[in-house]
Each structure stands twice: as structure tokens, then as C-alpha cells.
Amino acid sequence: MEPNLATSIGPIQLDRPVMLASGILGISLDVFNRLYRSGAGAVVTKSLSTEPWDGYPNPTIFGVKGGGWINAVGLSNPGAPNFAKMIESNQDVPIVVSLVGSIPEDFEMMIKQFENCKVTAYELNLSCPHVAKVGLEVGDDPELVKKIVSTVKNSTNIPVIAKVGLGTTNYLNTIHTAIDSGIDAITAINTVRAIAIDVETTRPILSNKFGGLSGTPIKPIALRCVYEISSKYDIPIIGCGGISTWEDAVEFFLAGASAIQLGSAIGDNWVDVFDDINKGISQYMKRKNYSTIKDMVGLAHKS
């Protein structure tokens, strides 16, 4: 009796619980297909805006000496209209379309573009820590979150996820508002605002100076957020932040996540990371006699 890796995140059904996080390799349908074949349960696209964005000049990403990555790609993306065309032919891959914008109308307009695409869910990026007027600046404004989530929910029948991060207000309030406005699930967390300075040239390394920290360093913080959210709210959670092994993934399930996303780990372990984690989870479930992912979700709260 093989353990079943299928999971449901509220209305979203996935065959496997490990998803590709937004902004990671998420630019072409060919790559999505490859990642799906490699074991990803779903892929989240780069966050799309109404118009194409070039993003920031390089350096936009580098490895931190003590581990992890800092990036300020600046949400470079082809824009929702172009992107929708790129994935129109999609049949097989569960694609979650990530969206950024400043006002509800941005999101409305973008969702229209995908009417002819097979989209598994939308993920609203309310948490990018290094681009002005979108991301965290939206997530930190409860009124705006309310308007955006309500608008999006009225514009589509496809499930909608809100992606949160650690901004300048209590992210739990953002979640509260999103839940009140009808959100279907929460992804936690985005990168954490950070900086690195080169001591020889005495300059910040990123062209944008500030960026977002991802990878192993943020795992204990991300896990805490999932644990906190699941203590406080009855909402499906997708855990994200620093996951690179099956043990990390299981920690997130135990903390209350129904699925997980990863990005930075691909920089270290390449696309094999999906299958490695799937296998590890499966072996763990066998050993522990869990037959479904659900058996694990939130268990750490019960001890």
C-alpha cells in the first residue's frame, strides 16, 4: 500500500504536494512541462503585471555567504496578455497564475486574459518586498487587500490564493482580511526584505540595493508563519520558504500546510529536488503509517 501523495488545498486538487514557487523558472510552458514531469505537483508562474516589465538591472540575484539567496529581479515579466498567449496550449500542467497589481482593476483585467487558458488557481502576490506600489505595499494595506480579493473573487470561479509575507504590519491581519473577503487559500511566505553590502567596494550588491532573502535561512521563519496561521485560522495553507528536503516539507505539513512551494532549492539541487522530496515524503509516510498527506497536516499542534 503506497502512501498517496495527492493533496487538496481547499478547492484545489493536486496529485503531488510539492509546487514550484512563483518567480522561479516560471517563464515558459516548455519549462513548466519539464518541471511537472520532474515531479512538481503544480507550477506557479512568475508574478504577472498588466504590462510587460523589464525588472531591475543586474545584479538581481546572488548567493549569501551564510546560505540562501537575495534577489531583486524586480518582478520582470512579459505582462499578463503576452503570458496568457504563451500558456494557451497548456493541457497537462496544473498552472497557478501569480498576479501583481496596485488596484483591483489591474487584477480584473489580467484575469480576463486567461479566459481561454487552463488555470488551476490564481495566486495574488501581496508580498513582494522590493518593488514599490505592489506586493507588500498592497499586502500591508487591509482596505486594498479587501477590495482586491473581493474583486478577484467576483471575476472568476477559479480558486484564489493570497500570498503573504512579513511586511510592516501584522501579516495575520492581512490574512484575516483576505479570509473575510473570500480567499480560498494562503501561501506563506514570500522572501524577507534584506540587503548585502560588499566590503571591498563598500556598495550594496544588488542594483536595487534591497532585495528578498530566500532559501534555508528563512525556513524557521516561514514555518513559524504557517504554524501561526494554522493556529489562528481555518484556511488551507501552502507553505513556502527555504524548503529543500523532504524533512522540511514534512515540517510544513505538520505545522499545518496542505502543500508546499519551493524555489531556491532548485539553485542548489536542480530540478531533481521535486522527485527527491516526493520520494522522501513517501518513505516517511510509509514508515509512519500515514496514508494521505492530510494525515500529517497540522499534527504538530496536537502534541
Binding site: I24, N58, T201
Partner: protein, 270 residues
């Protein structure tokens, strides 16, 4: 010491060599970069300017490496203008490397695409018979000819230059020369790096003849490690799966030779 090869290590430029009016080689000390495999690249940070992917050039001196840069847009011009004593940041090495074959070898390089070829030349065996084609627009854009002859001095070898305008060496496109050579002679391997159309045609010529061929691709790069996605060609990520791909693999790629992506990730025709 590279504690984390994904974090920029600062090096000081020790020597600048003018190759042509628009191409310079910048030499620096770095043990790891001095011994990379042919085809590997680094992400080169020009502080205050930009960061660019650059093939890692050889240096004659032990423990040193170099970049050979053509002045083009603001980023490469920033690198081109770095003076002796100034500092740049490098992270890497990144990417795979050419499969080293033996026998009769054809190397084809255009412009700074010659950089990986120079390092590849240092890996040839004494028994190899090596032909190097150097493609350039005109005479003053030709470089590395004597460097290549020097490296190959103990081999049976030919270094053939072709210029589009015929101002030096053979006249015409280097790819026509490739087509002719692979029709005339059996090669055990063909290696190419240069403008995509040059690589596309070279790969086609070799594939048609069933000759082993590898090309080193260029795409927009941000991370260099397979995270950001900006370098994808079809389902391949140039920085991580490549930059070097076999001709057979490339012949199945729908984007190679046809499209590349701009900074926003939109496909554009070549």
C-alpha cells in the same frame, strides 16, 4: 578563497590587453577561475554598472584568468572601461563544458565566442589535428589568431580567418566555410560559439553529416544557476543545462536559432 561560489568574489584587474579597438582582455588572479573547464562562464559584476555573463578566458600566467569583452551596450562598455587596479566581482564558475573528443577537430568561433575556444585549445592532445575558424566582420575585428597558433604550435593545425568583407583572410561568412569543410573532410567533432545564426548553421551542417557537434548558447542571464528562468530556450535553461548542448539535442529545440527572450521574458525573433 571562494567560500560560496554564488556570492561575488572581488578581484583586482592586473592587466588590460587591447585585442581590437572594441575588444579588451582583463586579467586577474583567481585560482578557481584559472582552472575552469572549457565553456564555463562567470557572472561578472561591474560595481555601479551591471552584472554580465562572461566566458572565462585563459591567461598564460599560473593562477590567473581573464575576461575578453566586446564593448557593446552600457554594461559591456562598463566592463571594457575597467582599468588596471580597479575591482570587479565574479561568481561562478557556472555551466557545463565541452566534451573533449580526439582526432580531427573543428573549432568555430565568432567574436568573443572565441573565448571558450581558446580554453578548449589548451585541452587538445598532441595527436589531435585541429582546425580553428575565426569569423569576423572585418580585419580590425580579428583577434586571438596568433594566440591560437601559439597554443597549437605542437599540433597539426590550421587557423583560418574569414571576414565578411574580405579585408583579411578568406572572404565570406564563416558558416559557408564550415559547410565546405564538413563536406570535404571527416571531422571527429565540431565545436562552435558565436552569434546564434552562426551556431545554428554550423550545427545544421554537422548534423546533416552526422558529425558530433556542440554549441555554447547565449541568453539573457540573471542568476546563472537555474533559478530565475531568464535564460530558457525551449525547455532548457542555458545557464544550468548548458551553456553547451549537443547538435542532436539542439535540432529538437524549437527556439534555438529562431527566438530569444528579452528582459521582460517575451520571445523575440532573431
Amino acid at each position: 578563497m571562494h567560500i560560496n561560489h554564488n556570492h561575488p568574489t572581488i578581484v583586482t584587474i592586473e592587466k588590460v590587453i587591447d585585442e581590437t579597438p572594441t575588444v579588451r582582455t582583463l586579467v586577474f588572479s583567481d585560482e578557481i577561475m584559472s582552472t575552469v573547464l572549457p565553456g564555463q562562464f562567470a557572472m561578472v559584476w561591474i560595481p555601479g554598472v551591471n552584472e554580465l555573463p562572461m566566458s572565462i578566458m585563459i591567461s598564460k600566467e599560473f593562477g590567473k584568468a581573464a575576461f575578453t569583452v566586446r564593448k557593446h551596450g552600457p554594461a559591456s562598455t562598463g566592463l571594457f572601461n575597467i582599468k588596471v587596479g580597479e575591482q570587479i566581482g565574479i561568481r561562478g564558475p557556472y555551466g557545463n563544458s565541452f566534451d573533449i573528443k580526439e582526432g580531427k577537430l573543428l573549432l568555430v568561433g565568432g567574436g568573443t565566442g572565441l573565448v571558450p575556444m581558446m580554453r578548449l585549445l589548451t585541452f587538445v592532445k598532441p595527436t589531435d589535428d585541429v582546425t580553428l575558424l575565426i569569423g569576423a566582420k572585418s580585419k580590425d575585428e580579428v583577434f586571438f589568431e596568433s594566440l591560437a597558433n601559439g597554443i597549437l604550435e605542437n599540433n597539426t593545425h590550421k587557423v583560418i580567418v574569414s571576414t565578411d568583407d574580405g579585408s583579411y583572410g578568406e572572404k565570406g561568412f564563416v558558416t559557408d566555410l564550415v559547410e565546405k569543410l564538413v563536406n570535404d573532410t571527416h571531422f571527429d567533432a565540431v565545436y562552435v560559439c558565436g552569434p546564434e545564426i552562426m551556431m545554428y548553421k554550423t550545427v545544421q551542417s554537422a548534423n546533416t553529416k552526422g558529425i558530433f557537434v556542440q554549441a555554447s548558447l547565449e541568453r539573457m542571464m540573471k542568476c546563472g544557476v537555474g533559478i530565475c528562468g531568464s535564460c530558457c530556450v525551449g525547455e532548457d535553461l542555458v545557464c544550468r543545462d548548458g551553456t553547451i548542448f549537443d547538435g542532436h539535442h539542439l535540432s529538437q529545440n524549437k527556439e534555438f536559432g529562431r527566438f530569444h527572450r528579452n528582459k521582460a521574458g517575451i520571445l523575440e525573433n532573431y
